[in-house]
Symmetry: C2
Subunit: 159 residues, 2 copies
């Protein structure tokens, strides 16, 4: 299995979070915590399913400007290494069923760092066109804002 | 996680193989054995990659009427329970990257049976249209023939 990054197909983003890995992990895997950072504010996030095991459903909804919650991510977890790694895709739904609108697989990695945790997202696409589209949709701004929100939450808890 | 069968989206096929589970498992997971039954004869199969772990590549080629080997399956293993279950999809490639032509996920299950092994394939699609297309492409004949070939191989070894 190759998890090598392919710059033609992949997007990556990372940052140092000044909180221990356990706090970053729990901010990811606890539903209420996750809802606080997964969507750029003031948009709101609702976790519908977060079944943290291979084949487990991962479904979120979003609400913008106080509107109704609408589908956001419909995906499936592929791999969970406690405290270290989460892999999910929207190419499959819960139970590994092929999805109607496949687009990406994300590998989230948490590593110890002298000042806290190195948090990295490696997002894989099937084609350079999909990678470009994701970048033009505002990948760096969107994911960057969310990771910033995650950092603020974990860092507050670390104080 | 729900692995419930959905008759609108899924195709299933099963048969009893008169050989112990260990022999059916090795006929599946040993590349040379696998090549002997995975394609309806006289078509030939070549295993390019069979990395039996979650995220591992699963790539096969076929040759018809003595022609060159051409791509057949390009997929990814999702779950391996030794001796009991194999899950793979062509919605992802090795390393979980989204695939260009996603179509199905297959769950292969081996269970002990009084006369040998109950072998079952549960094949999931994203839509009823895909399920129908797979059926019209000759799912029952094709998979049935291959499972018959698998049975013959395992039963010969059980004698």
């Amino acid at each position: 299995m190759s998890l090598t990054k392919n710059p033609d197909l992949d997007l990556t983003i990372s940052r140092i979070i000044k909180a221990p890995r356990s706090l970053v992990w729990s901010a990811w895997t606890d539903r209420e915590s996750f809802e606080q950072w997964w969507m750029p504010a003031p948009a709101k996030c609702k976790v519908v399913e977060m079944d943290l095991r291979p084949g487990g459903a991962f479904t979120t909804q979003m609400s913008e400007k106080g509107g109704d919650f609408v589908p956001h991510l419909s995906g499936c977890f592929l791999d969970i290494v406690d405290g270290e790694r989460l892999v999910f895709t929207n190419a499959l739904l819960g139970g590994w069923r092929p999805a109607e609108q496949p687009f990406m697989t994300a590998i989230i990695t948490l590593k110890d760092h002298p000042t806290g945790t190195e948090y990295a997202a490696h997002v894989m696409h099937k084609s350079n066109a999909d990678r470009k589209m994701h970048e033009e949709m505002g990948f760096f701004d969107g994911w960057g804002t969310c990771i910033e929100q995650l950092a603020r939450l974990a860092e507050k808890r670390a104080r």
